[in-house]
């Protein structure tokens, strides 16, 4: 007799003992047809009945190896709710969990049949309710196999880390290959608990709670009880010769016409079911909504709350008339934001025979020397050549092309060539850091990578995805070594025009957020939206064809040809904006008689620093500039004044925006001064407590979603002055969506038609917007819901304070505000500020904002993001402050 288990659900934390059920089911599986088998499963039906809840549908949850139904406890619990109740049946597969140990070796086909026997027994085969499968690991293949045989009841598919297909043993992830090795296999899976332990130790956030760990391991105490684990691993269809290979292929292909809504929640740190399995599934089920959890691994149900998003998704599918995305798109249409669609490339195409200058590159070593120029005609021709070459290399419309080429003529050509053939450009800049960049690229999964040599080397070293195309000529040896399939330099000139056919709703670009709060997010723009960005800039600043533009700020640099402006890239290290000197800027301006400058705050700071060395001629070259845009972060008045003295004729503007909407407001230096005066001298309502960013740009509308008592934005939005809330924006040039981040996208479009920016602010009485910080940085204190910027500005009024960050310490609702300062001269160590400085800061903050801070801490240098070196990592500071102020020793990790 084989050892059998008796369920003891009272000992399973998170499980209501009433869920635990047993069933006697006659097997029809080939391996033991006719035998009666004992099944254990969790089912919340009894509790639903006791609470008088009528379920919307039934979720059939199938675990993998070596977990059991316990994996789904959060989903069972979440199903019991009044608004959107679902019956959840989580089964223990035979030989697994608390189901019978059969002493047989069950193959994929047996297991699919087993599941059918079970569902017939519990009445799933002929229910009137919609059935949704939810699966993990090998449960994915089994439940999808079951779904193909139960198409009439299956109405949706929800998957977590799983796989339905692998073609050969080489591609099996290393972690699994090890388990499959005959020398390891029996020992690792059955004789010892190694496979079980390795799997359970994949849990993130410090690992599983010890009681939870014990519960997972409970049904696998002895080697006999673990036979199922071994047999599962042995059945992995690792090659055509393996027993279950044909069944796997049948299922993997079959789901292509399983036309039901699908939702994938994926932990991308999983060493086994890696992103490529997610991509494979996406390819087979292109209708799927996908959310990647960048901080979760294999046991995504333990690492993240998967139940809440799942029920939100089910609600959209089964209770709403439209999904959230449909509602958002409908609302955007109703807003009638769309003007006539004029493709980005129009201007270039129209000027195909114009011999005037389009693009100028300054020499990378000699800032007064022009390295190369392209006329409009040459630009059009080169774009045509590259577009044709890309197509010949296999790049198709909709393919993602990662461009790793520094700004300048080459990048411009590549961008417009991609736009022309409908390829989607992926722009992840080195400002994300090597790790962040790798993560971003693995998330975006570009099909091609076009790069200069260092980028190709890095791609090789870091495993960046995409077929490699060299942007520059490369020696044959290097091409081979770097796996390069083509070189842009080899693309041959052609006389006829490459066909041009992009639809306004096609994807055009994936841009990346700076990742200052968590992993960088991919932001997808359509052709219409990216053209909208150009139109917003064009109309807001009155830029017309013939403008001479110095492109010192990467995101806007690509707009030059679309605007019909002659653009020049000044001599600078583009990865480090603070390398732009005043003389380089002047030389670039002189090269094209520039009238407009796009720059970043870091670049301008260095320009100001190096302006003393300018000669009379160099100064004169900057006198024809009538517009200067600084984007990325607000500029302090003294810096604006210094910039003004360098470009005396220019109107200086600091647009405000984010990767998801560039830009959304604009303000000039003059307006900044008058806004500040409105607050201090005239006491205008709302003209204080934040950074004034001005008014909406052309085409954009802005509203405020007021914060409730917990600091959460309300649904109803307002434009009333003086009310603080999340800034929401609608504009033709707002992003289409986040890339495979369903949960993030849902939050950002919570108000259909609008983008929730994640910034908080308010309007003043004159209709200007004031930004008060990030929603995630709002302080929920016993003094109320507070925003950080006003406190920080007040603290920065204390002479020695260079930069301040306000954070909350303590539990939400009863926390206390703390200000952390970076001083000049620099503090000798991180820790307590002395009592005098503390008193000064506290007094100033109290006087300006009415808020009393409990403590003032000092740091040598604030931790900031890599891209802008300006976004202070407040959550990190808050954790440090919390530890320090609880009386422990704490080190600020940067």
């Amino acid at each position: 007799m084989l050892e059998q288990l008796t369920p003891d659900p009272q000992n399973w934390p998170g499980v209501d003992p009433r869920w635990s059920c047993m069933a006697q089911v006659i097997s029809s599986a080939g391996v033991d047809a006719g035998h009666t088998r004992t099944w254990h499963y969790l089912d919340n039906q009894q509790v639903l009945r006791e609470e008088g809840l009528e379920p919307v549908g039934i979720i059939l949850a199938v675990h993998g190896n070596p977990t059991w139904s316990y994996l789904w406890r959060s989903v069972l619990a979440a199903g019991i709710n009044a608004e959107n109740p679902w019956r959840v049946i989580a089964v223990d597969q035979l030989d697994m969990g608390f189901s019978e140990r059969t002493g047989t070796v069950r193959r994929l086909a047996d297991r699919v049949r087993d599941l059918g026997d079970f569902t017939q027994h519990v009445g799933l085969d002929n229910t009137d309710l919609p059935v949704v499968i939810l699966a993990h690991d090998w449960g994915g293949l089994i439940s999808l196999g079951w779904a193909l045989e139960h198409r009439d009841v299956v109405e949706a598919v929800a998957l977590t880390n799983t796989a339905v297909f692998h073609d050969q043993i080489e591609k099996i992830p290393a972690a699994l290959q090890l388990a499959l090795n005959p020398a390891i296999h029996g020992w690792g899976t059955q004789k010892s608990t190694a496979f079980l332990d390795v799997t359970l130790h994949l849990a993130q956030n410090g690992g599983l709670d010890s009681v939870v760990y014990k519960t997972y391991a409970a049904p696998y105490r002895t080697a006999e009880l673990r036979a199922g684990i071994r047999n599962f691993v042995a059945d992995i269809p690792a090659g055509e010769a393996t027993a279950s290979y044909t069944d796997m292929v049948r299922i993997a292909e079959g789901i292509r016409d399983l036309h039901v809504p699908a939702f994938f929640q994926w932990g991308t740190k999983d060493p086994v079911f890696q992103r490529r399995y997610m991509a494979d599934l996406q390819e087979r089920m292109p209708q799927a909504d996908v959310h990647r959890y960048e901080n979760a691994s294999h046991l995504v149900a333990e690492d993240e709350d998967i139940a809440t998003p799942l029920f939100h998704w089910l609600e959209e599918q089964f209770l709403w008339n439209h999904t959230g995305r449909q509602a958002h798109q409908l609302a955007r249409e109703e807003q009638q934001l769309h003007t006539d669609f004029e493709p980005m490339i129009s201007e270039v195409l129209q000027r195909a025979s114009d011999s005037s200058l389009a693009v100028v590159d300054m020499d990378s070593r000699n800032e007064t020397q022009i390295a190369s120029t392209l006329s409009w005609a040459e630009l059009a021709q080169d774009i045509n050549r590259v577009a044709n070459g890309l197509e010949a290399t296999g790049v198709r419309a909709g393919d993602r092309v990662n461009l790793m080429v520094p700004p300048g003529a080459k990048l411009t050509t590549l961008i417009y060539a991609c736009l022309k053939i409908g390829a989607v450009i992926v722009v992840a800049d080195t400002g994300l850091g090597a790790k962040g960049l790798t993560r971003a690229l693995k998330g975006a999964r570009p099909d091609f990578l076009v790069g200069i040599r260092p980028a190709l080397v890095a791609a090789r070293a870091m495993g960046w995805p995409g077929q490699k195309i060299a942007a520059d000529p490369l020696p044959a040896v290097a091409r081979k070594g770097l796996g390069v399939i083509a070189s842009v330099a080899d693309f041959s000139d052609i006389s006829e025009n490459t066909s041009y056919s992009v639809s306004p709703e096609d994807d055009a670009a994936v841009l990346y957020t700076s990742g200052s709060t968590g992993p960088a997010k991919g932001v997808v723009y359509t052709q219409r939206q990216i053209s909208g960005m150009r139109d917003a800039i064009r109309h807001t600043y009155g830029l017309s064809a013939g403008t001479g533009l110095v492109a010192g700020f990467a995101p806007f640099a690509l707009l030059g040809p679309a605007l019909g402006a002659t653009s020049v890239t000044p001599t600078m290290d583009v990865t480090r904006p603070k390398t732009l000197t005043a003389s380089a800027l002047s030389a670039a301006a002189a090269a094209i008689d520039a009238t407009t400058i796009f720059a970043s705050p870091a670049a301008l700071m260095n320009v100001v620093r190096t302006a003393n060395n300018l000669s009379e001629d160099q100064r004169n070259a900057l006198k024809s500039v009538d517009l200067l845009l600084s984007a990325g972060a607000p500029l302090a008045v003294p810096l604006l004044e210094a910039v003004q003295s360098i470009v005396p004729q220019a109107s200086i503007h600091t647009p405000y925006g984010m990767t998801e909407a560039l830009p959304i407001t604009d303000i000039s230096f003059e307006e900044i001064k008058s806004a500040l005066a409105d607050g201090t001298e005239r006491g205008l309502t709302g003209a204080r407590d934040g950074v004034c960013v001005g008014r909406a740009v052309h085409g954009a509308e802005i509203q405020i979603a007021p914060l409730d008592n917990e600091g959460e934005p309300l649904e109803e939005t307002t434009t009333e002055p003086g009310i603080t809330g999340e800034i929401v924006v609608s504009a033709p040039h707002v992003k289409d969506r986040y890339d495979t981040l369903w949960v993030t996208e849902r939050l950002s479009t919570a108000t259909p038609g609008w983008h929730h920016t994640g910034d908080v602010g308010h309007f003043d009485e004159a209709g200007r917007l004031w930004v008060e910080g990030r929603l995630a940085h709002v302080l929920n204190t016993s003094q109320g819901v507070l925003t950080p910027v006003a406190m920080e500005q007040a603290a920065e009024e204390v002479p020695v304070v260079r930069r301040a960050a306000a954070v909350a310490v303590g539990p939400a609702g009863s926390a206390t505000p703390v200000v952390i300062v970076e001083t000049d001269p620099r503090a000798p160590q991180d820790g307590r500020a002395n009592s005098a400085l503390t008193a000064q800061v506290r007094q100033r903050v109290l006087q300006d904002t009415g808020i009393e801070v409990s403590a003032v801490l000092q740091v040598r240098e604030h931790p900031t993001d890599i891209r802008h070196n300006s976004k202070i990592d407040r959550p990190l500071l808050a954790r440090w402050a919390q530890k320090l102020l609880s009386g422990q020793k704490a080190k600020l990790k940067k």
Binding site: S814, A855, Q882, L885
Partner: protein, 364 residues
């Protein structure tokens, strides 16, 4: 047996607030029985009750010194009975004519034998409770301490949790926790028991904290633990007094729910102690000792003191080390709402008053 009321020597009682004839409201014919009035807080509470028109009977072993502070016209409303809270007869005598009780008397010490704490703090509370019920009194305010719910770990924005004697640290906190639970068990519709837990009460003339800090800082022997970054909340004396008098008058609202009372101004220990020192012209303490060392030393010293008790309080105990090296501050929303009270004197104003009171005493 020793008790707190004996330990504290009253050398020239004084009042924090004015005691001229016109500062006292007309008599309202309600008598409050206040225990432990030789301590700073008990004395000030008694004076404030008198100012607001209550009659007051103070009860403690030594002279409270309150009588001498009163203008002639108010003295007739004031009565003093001397005795120990464990003495049923004396308590019974004191309760004569009283309508309500504010029970402050306690053995407050970082050292001493467990039995002594039980005697004064637990048995004493039981006696006062039972005698009050016996006398037909229906209003009882017990003054407790947040340490009854302090387990030695960091408190941040803590609410008004129940007392946990089994987890409380040190004899004082554990005995007060037992006493508080005892008091709350008696709470009913016809015998209202309220509990207020003022946290670290300080002010001019306070021998428990202020003068210890100042004396030791003046000698340069006051260490900071872990650089004194633990955030703690305190209560300036006037605020504690106002809260207690408000609590007594709002027993209907607050009975059955213990409420922590503080200034609601958490400060780093180093800043707090430094502020007190600088107010009287002493340099702020700057020597830091690792908290773990202080805790270990405290544990040893505690053992030594328990075998060979000195006359003085021990220089460090485990409890004190924990108090000075872990954050403890509180969410005051519920307290302020139920008491309909808010602190009138800020910490900064408190420092200024220390400076005024001590004048040149600590200046060298």
């Amino acid at each position: 047996m020793t008790s707190a009321v004996e330990v504290i020597e009253v050398t020239g009682a004084f009042s924090q607030r004015p005691v001229a004839e016109e500062d006292f409201a007309p008599r309202r014919d309600e008598r409050v029985f206040v225990t432990g009035a030789s301590g700073m807080l008990g004395r000030e509470v008694s004076l404030e009750l008198l100012r607001q028109g209550f009659d007051v009977t103070v009860f403690q072993r030594s002279d409270s010194g309150v009588g001498e502070l009163l203008p002639e016209s108010v003295r007739e409303r004031f009565r003093q009975v001397r005795g120990a809270v464990t003495d049923m007869k004396a308590v019974q005598e004191g309760l004569e004519g009283a309508h309500g009780v504010i029970h402050l008397a306690a053995k407050v010490s970082f050292a001493g034998q467990w039995d002594e704490f039980v005697e004064t703090n637990v048995r004493g509370t039981r006696v006062v409770l039972e005698m009050a019920k016996e006398a037909g009194i229906s209003r009882f305010l017990f003054i407790s301490s947040p340490s009854v719910a302090h387990t030695g770990t960091a408190f941040m924005g803590e609410g008004n949790g129940p007392a946990t004697p089994e987890l409380a640290r040190g004899h004082y906190a554990r005995s007060k926790a037992l006493a508080e639970n005892l008091a709350l068990e008696s709470d009913s519709d016809d015998f209202w028991v309220g509990v207020l837990r003022p946290h670290i009460v300080w002010g001019p003339g306070d021998t428990q904290l202020v003068e210890r800090v100042l004396d030791r800082s003046a000698r340069g022997t006051l260490p900071l633990l872990n650089n004194g970054t633990a955030l703690i909340d305190t209560t300036y004396i006037d605020n504690a007094v106002d809260a207690i008098v408000a609590g007594y008058q709002r027993l209907e609202n607050i009975h059955g729910t213990p409420l922590v009372v503080t200034n609601g101004q958490p400060r780093e220990v180093a800043e707090l102690l430094g502020g007190m020192c600088e107010a009287v012209g002493i340099p702020a303490p700057s020597r830091s000792v690792p908290a773990s060392v202080a805790r270990a030393a405290g544990a040893v010293i505690e053992k030594v003191w328990s075998v060979r008790p000195g006359k003085d309080e021990p220089p460090m105990t485990k409890f004190l080390a924990e108090q000075l090296s872990t954050s403890h501050w509180f969410d005051q929303k519920q307290t302020r709402e139920l008491l309909d009270w808010s602190p009138a004197v800020s910490i900064e104003e408190g420092y200024a008053r220390l400076g005024e009171y001590y004048g040149n005493r600590y200046k060298s």
